[in-house]
């Protein structure tokens, strides 16, 4: 499970479904992560970065 540190209050927490903001009708499109302690919102990883990691991040180790 991914963990992150809140940039405002410093809390370390796991990113789960419960850390999503459910405040408004835009929530289906909202990719923000909400600190469970202070409520500060920051963003989850970009889907483009995630895709790039999938494609390039798991290269097999070069054989010696």
């Amino acid at each position: 499970m991914d963990r992150m540190t809140c940039p405002l209050c410093g809390l370390e927490f796991d990113i789960t479904a419960n850390t999503r903001c459910t405040g408004c009708f835009l929530k289906k499109n909202c990719a923000k992560i909400c600190c469970p302690r202070c409520g500060y919102e920051t963003v989850a990883e970009s889907s483009l970065v995630g895709l790039a990691k999938k494609i390039f991040g798991r290269r097999p180790a070069a054989s010696s």
Binding site: P7, C9, F25, L26, A31, K32, P36, R37, C38
Partner: protein, 660 residues
């Protein structure tokens, strides 16, 4: 009113062990190292029942048979304000025969004592491991372990866990751990309530003092836990005592309890902790300290804002917008889209896509060519501020500003969060105790706190004018906030916030991390804002096709032209501004770039649109939180108020002959 029994306090999984040692501490203080020392190799990691919080358990070595060691997540307090804190509190309450090993950071006495006071009140035997004592010594921090033991009766042992120093002593101390269940003597009315309510409580293995203090402080989980265990008149007694406390202290019980704990922490910290300067303080440490200073913090804040302003204004609103609007969209995309759409045989659809109010030529051009580069550069700057550790320091500065106004300290958090997203910040007003407080802070948020996207577009527009325009805008917005805050502070009782911020050291942000965050924020922005830009444009298109738009413009002429001194076309910006303020601001941005607005008109329109409702999402959240009637009343106040202030700016600037 009695709380509803929504759930019972979770119990630990049934086991036959007689004793448990629970490790508690702030994040990153070395609990896991000490846990490994106490348990050895074989541990189990599982989610605490009903949560996603992981708890690590292991069998203790050399501490007798059937002694279990439990490692809990890092917490700041046992308030509990997060799931981690709730789980830690529940582990401590639900395991009988528990000894608590508080693992503390020797460098930070106040943070340690803040957690210690709530742990002691649980009435469990406690031992304190003052970890990282070597780092404390290097920084010139002395933590008087014997002094702490002398005052509380609890053994406190300096340790360096990573080197195993002091851990054997800790292990031995756990066998003779002592309690200090009443570290703080509260106001007589609180003590009276604790005594009276304790008699009505059934016998449990949990300290009745801790339970009563939690209930008086408004802990809903504890109330739910007790709901079925106590007679119905217990809650009437609780309410009676709460009112007595309010009457005697002039504050809520939670504020009185929190205040007494803070006094204890301060007094203890002064007695047992000293900092002497060891060697030269690093520049980052000095800068970090200055940035929170009530005097030196202000020029640093101004310098940071200026840096962001120039970066967003010159690079974002200038270079990037020029390139995207004039080259990418102007030369390539829009002509190409127009030629493709010209093949469509129906003029109505051609207009809808590439006309004056076309989805491509207006909505997508605004979203991608104008707003995105501006908010993108703002997100870049904001990401750098986040990663540098400046934001908690900014929160401390803002806290001082609001306290100077006499506003409830708890209101500070939603205000700071509003700089990120007003909608989410409106939700966090739930932490405020009364409906009146929640409504006033929601109003302040909607009125004067622009979210990050709006701030980006506004800074971009202001950068095209003389710097005095920015000072006027900032001055007016702060002035409105200060005045409304001051008026509301007359209605609200001032109470200090219990919110604890982790002030981490200032550090250089990592470029890769900022770039990744900015990309994620831009993706989020496009997903959220672009559809609203399209809806807004379709609304303008429909109004235009039905010939309502000229009628609306004529009808609003006394306000838009007469009061605000703006061209009638600016009406459209205010119509879509209700969907999103930044969309409205983008329309004004385009008008200003095309020479349709002079400097006074830019400042007037920006002040007016800043004071508008932030966006339609925010309006719906206000309805959800406060009801339709309050939301409409709030809108009925905000819109005329924004227009009146805008009108005043227009007349005053013209009156004094300001030209920008």
């Amino acid at each position: 009113m009695a709380p509803v029994a929504i759930k019972t306090l979770p119990r630990a999984p049934a086991d036959t062990r007689e004793t448990s040692i629970v490790l508690v501490g702030n994040p990153n203080v070395g609990k896991s190292v000490i846990f490994s020392y106490l348990t050895g190799r074989y541990v189990t990691v599982s989610n605490y029942p009903g949560t996603t919080v992981e708890i690590t358990r292991g069998k203790a070595r050399d501490l007798g048979p059937n002694v279990e060691v439990i490692d809990t997540p890092g917490v700041q307090s046992l308030s509990p304000e997060s799931e981690d804190e709730r789980v830690t509190r529940d582990v401590l309450l639900s395991n009988p025969n528990t000894t608590v090993l508080l693992v503390a950071d020797s460098k930070n006495a106040r943070r340690t004592l803040t957690l210690l006071v709530t742990v002691l009140e649980l009435g469990r035997p406690v031992v304190i491991a003052l970890n990282m004592s070597d780092e404390a010594k290097l920084r010139g921090v002395t933590f008087d372990a014997e002094g702490l033991s002398g005052i509380t009766g609890i053994e406190a042992i300096p340790t360096v866990a990573v080197e195993g120093r002091g851990l054997e002593k800790v292990k031995k101390s756990l066998l003779r751990a002592r309690m200090c269940p009443e570290p703080v003597r509260y106001h007589a009315k609180i003590e009276e309530a604790v005594e009276a309510l304790s008699e009505a409580l059934p016998r449990t293995d949990i300290s009745s003092r801790a339970l009563i203090l939690g209930i008086l402080a408004g802990d809903q989980d504890l109330a739910a836990f007790l709901y079925e265990l106590v007679p119905a008149d217990f809650w009437t007694m609780v309410e009676h005592h709460k009112q007595e406390i309010r009457r005697a202290c002039g504050r809520s019980p939670s504020s009185v309890i929190g205040g007494a704990r803070r006094v204890w922490v301060e007094q203890m910290a002064t007695r047992i902790s000293r900092t002497t300067q060891q060697g030269a303080e690093s520049l980052a440490d000095k800068f970090g300290r200055w940035s929170m200073h009530p005097v030196w913090g202000l020029p640093i804040l101004v310098a940071v804002l200026l840096g962001v302003f120039w970066f967003v204004g010159i690079f974002g609103a200038g270079t990037a917008v020029n390139f995207l609007e004039n080259v990418i969209f102007g030369r390539f995309l829009n002509p190409w889209a127009t030629s493709v759409v010209s093949l469509v045989p129906w003029a109505f659809f051609r207009d809808l896509l590439v006309g004056e109010y076309g989805v491509i030529t207006m909505a997508l051009t605004y979203a991608f060519a104008i707003v995105l580069p501006v908010v993108g550069t703002f997100f870049l700057a904001f990401g750098a501020l986040e990663d540098s550790g400046y934001l908690p320091r900014l929160a401390v500065m803002v806290d001082r500003f609001f306290r100077a106004m006499g506003l409830n300290g708890r209101a500070v958090l939603p205000m700071v969060l509003g700089l990120g997203c007003d909608t989410m910040a409106t939700l966090t007003t739930r932490v405020l105790e009364t409906k009146k407080e929640r409504v006033i802070v929601t109003l302040l948020l909607a009125l004067g706190v622009p979210c990050s996207a709006q701030m980006g577009v506004i800074l971009g527009m202001l950068s095209g004018l003389a710097f005095s325009a920015t000072i006027i805008w900032v001055g007016i917005v702060l002035g409105v906030l200060f005045t409304v805050g001051l008026l509301s502070s007359k209605l609200l009782k001032g109470e200090r916030s219990d919110f604890i911020l982790e002030i981490s050291p200032l550090r250089w942000p990592k470029i890769g991390n900022i770039a990744s965050k900015t990309l994620a924020r831009m993706e989020w922005y496009l997903k959220e804002a672009a559809p609203l830009f399209v809806y807004g444009t379709i609304l303008l298109f429909a109004l235009d096709k039905l010939s309502f738009l000229p009628w609306i413009e004529r009808a609003s002429a006394p306000v838009i032209k007469g009061l605000l001194g703006l061209p009638l076309e600016a009406t459209q910006a205010f119509i879509v501004g209700f969907l999103r303020r930044d969309y409205g601001a983008a329309g004004l941005f385009v008008m200003a770039r095309n020479g349709g607005l002079d400097s006074i008109q830019v400042v007037t329109s920006l002040v007016t649109i800043t004071l508008f409702m932030p966006c339609i999402a925010n309006f719906f959240v206000v309805i959800k939180e406060h009801g339709m009637k309050t939301a409409i009343l709030m809108g009925l106040f905000i819109i005329p108020f924004a227009l009146l202030i805008g009108g005043a700016v227009n007349y005053i600037l013209r009156g004094i002959g300001w030209t920008g």
